[in-house]
């Protein structure tokens, strides 16, 4: 590097100082990146090392059980799938509707500005508060915990993500396409639903998948809503097991097999979340370009 620089660069003390400063900043930034990458590698390594050790057919097929009983996580996996599915069933129509409202009818109105702001706030609201809220609204009045309450809590977390992507994607639809639809005599709702939404479909689907990824790892909102369950639970009206709650219960336990299951659960959740993110990032990118 210094070879390529002229003679004047090296002799001038001010230049030397600038060069040193630049080298220092470069070194520090490289160190920062290295620390970050190392910490994250440590997380992934611990996760893989401990998670793969406990990964077995029994862990995937047996329901949770007392320590030493060769229990698994099957009911928690199923509970997580049910609750996230129901949450998405609730969140998708609401999120799409709200996103459509904001992009189609929400220009310049104070109501839309307020909704947009509130949705942004909800996007990063502490998830434990959502759990408390749903507890007060859907658990306390009925006197028992339920998988449905858990789903609603997750849905509240998912909606803002879907709203944001839907609005952004609909705004990208060319005006010419809307005009073409309207010129053919289609009603506005037909234009929006069957032209705009359809051409924005990959982006909107990305939002839904990202919401799924975000929601499937959430623990805090489920603590007070679906509570968790040691047994098989299929009814949305009853407390329901879920993978994050099972991890939370097992990770702090003093039984080796429970801790092993917690790691396995953590690995499964992470693989699921990262898998969805990778699909979104690479699967859709190639299709769009």
């Amino acid at each position: 590097m210094s070879k390529s620089m002229g003679q004047g660069w090296r002799k001038d003390p001010r230049a030397t100082q600038r060069l040193l400063m630049d080298r220092l900043a470069t070194g520090m930034s490289l160190t920062a990146t290295a620390i970050l990458v190392l910490a994250l590698a440590s997380i992934l390594w611990t996760l893989l090392w401990n998670g793969l050790a406990g990964l077995s057919l029994a862990a995937l097929l047996h329901p949770m059980g007392p320590p030493g009983s060769n229990g698994g996580l099957a009911n928690a996996i199923l509970g997580s799938l049910i609750q996230t599915a129901v949450a998405l069933l609730i969140a998708t129509p609401v999120g799409l509707g709200c996103g459509i409202y904001l992009s189609e009818f929400g220009t310049g109105s104070k109501f839309a500005t307020a909704v947009r702001f509130v949705s942004d706030v909800l996007l990063s609201a502490p998830s434990i508060l959502i759990g408390l809220f749903v507890y007060l609204v859907l658990v306390a009045p009925f006197g028992h915990f339920s998988g449905f309450a858990g789903s609603v809590a997750l849905a509240i977390l998912a909606v803002p993500i879907i709203v944001r992507t839907t609005e952004d994607m609909l705004r990208l639809v060319p005006v010419a396409m809307r005009e073409a639809g309207s010129a053919l005599g289609a009603a506005h709702w037909r234009v929006v639903l069957f032209l705009c939404l359809r051409s924005a479909a990959p982006g909107v689907l990305t939002g839904i998948l990202l919401a799924l990824a975000r929601v499937s790892g959430e623990t805090a909102p489920l603590l007070f809503t679906s509570l968790g369950n040691q047994n098989w639970s299929f009814s949305l009206d009853k407390p329901m097991a879920s993978l994050p709650i099972a991890i939370y219960q097992y990770a702090g336990a003093s039984y080796d097999d429970w801790v092993r299951l917690a790691w396995t659960g953590a690995l499964l959740v992470t693989l699921g979340v990262l898998g969805i993110n990778i699909i979104v990032r690479f699967g859709f990118r190639s299709k769009q370009s």
Binding site: A32, L36, I43, N50, V137, P160, A187, T219, Y248, T270
Partner: protein, 324 residues
């Protein structure tokens, strides 16, 4: 703007369009999607109201002293918010102090120094890791960071700084491994990928012309960063940091595992503390419906909500200004 203009150019003269009854036309559509928007508004309103209402009993019983009281005693039924609020703000500040320099450095390296191929791979990895659920960070903290703190970091600090007058109190305490610093450290690792991703995006949208002009005048990379990029993207950077702060404030799972959960206040960075979120997560299942304890927890939730919503509002405002 363009969409609204398009929506107003309806094909009016067609008779069938005019005859469409209310329940299947555009008005119904508008009503339906408007209802969805209203639902989003109502859910946040409901959140605020239920917290305020649920916590009103505790605020009524303890008055404003609730915020300044350090007691959390279910036996005598006395509760105060000071210790968890202290822990929440303390751990968040530590997380910011550690995480922001790391994130800034990493974003600087990724956007200006690294070869594009490497930057692409590392950048994607960082973005992916911002999506890892927080409970994973909690478990990692519990099984990796806590033992490391107990065996290496805490003895080191006690040995070398335990008798230095000014900072003796900061390193005081038995080497459990749990504590405010551990909580802040795990939070830092959790929010750094996120803040890095935001900063990287902010740096990336900067017009290349400005940077190239500075390079053309002979500025070094650091000078370009310090004098051109940072001033240009200041609002966005601060917005990203505040957004990360909002995450750290309300984080439950990553903190509950590692902070030690003791309702105390003090100078020591190594002593077990708690945060609002961790206290709520641990005590809520043991609180009877309608009890003063439950109400106190909801009041804590209300305080947390105020803290984090203020932070988020500031972040959104800062990030919005840049976009316009």
């Amino acid at each position: 703007m363009t969409s609204a203009a398009a929506s107003r150019t309806q094909p009016a003269p067609i008779q069938e369009a005019r005859k469409t009854p209310f329940w299947k036309g555009d008005r119904l559509f508008r009503l339906l999607v408007g209802a969805c928007a209203l639902l989003v508004l109502v859910s946040l309103g409901g959140l605020v109201l239920t917290m305020a209402f649920g916590g009103s009993k505790a605020f009524g019983a303890f008055g404003p002293g609730f915020v300044f009281s350090n007691v959390w005693n279910p036996v005598t039924n006395e509760y105060g918010a000071l210790a968890p609020v202290f822990g929440t703000i303390g751990s968040t500040l530590i997380a910011i102090a550690i995480g922001v320099p790391l994130a800034f450095g990493a974003a600087f390296w990724l956007t200006n120094i690294a070869p594009p191929m490497v930057a692409g791979v590392v950048g994607t990895a960082v973005q992916l890791l911002a999506a890892v659920p927080s409970i994973i960070f909690g478990m990692w903290g519990f099984f990796v960071v806590v033992p490391f703190m107990a065996q290496h970091v805490q003895p080191f600090f006690r040995h070398h700084f335990g008798h230095v007058p000014g900072i003796r109190w900061l390193v005081h305490g038995a080497p459990f491994g749990y504590g405010l610093l551990t909580g802040g450290l795990v939070l830092a690792v959790m929010i750094t990928p996120f803040v890095t991703a935001v900063m990287r995006d902010v740096f990336a949208v900067m017009p290349p012309m400005l940077k190239e002009s500075a390079y053309g005048l002979g500025a070094t990379r650091w000078e370009v960063m310090r004098r051109v990029i940072v001033p240009w993207s200041r609002a966005g950077m601060i917005g990203g940091v505040v957004l990360g702060m909002g995450r750290a404030l309300g984080e439950t799972m990553a903190v509950t595992f590692v902070i030690g959960n003791a309702n105390t206040i003090g100078w020591s960075l190594f002593a077990p503390r708690n945060t609002v979120a961790s206290l709520v997560a641990l005590e809520f299942p043991e609180s009877a419906a309608g009890s003063l304890k439950l109400s106190s927890l909801l009041a804590l939730g209300f305080i947390l909500m105020l803290l984090s919503f203020t932070t988020l509002a500031i972040a959104r405002w800062l990030l919005r200004e840049k976009r316009a």
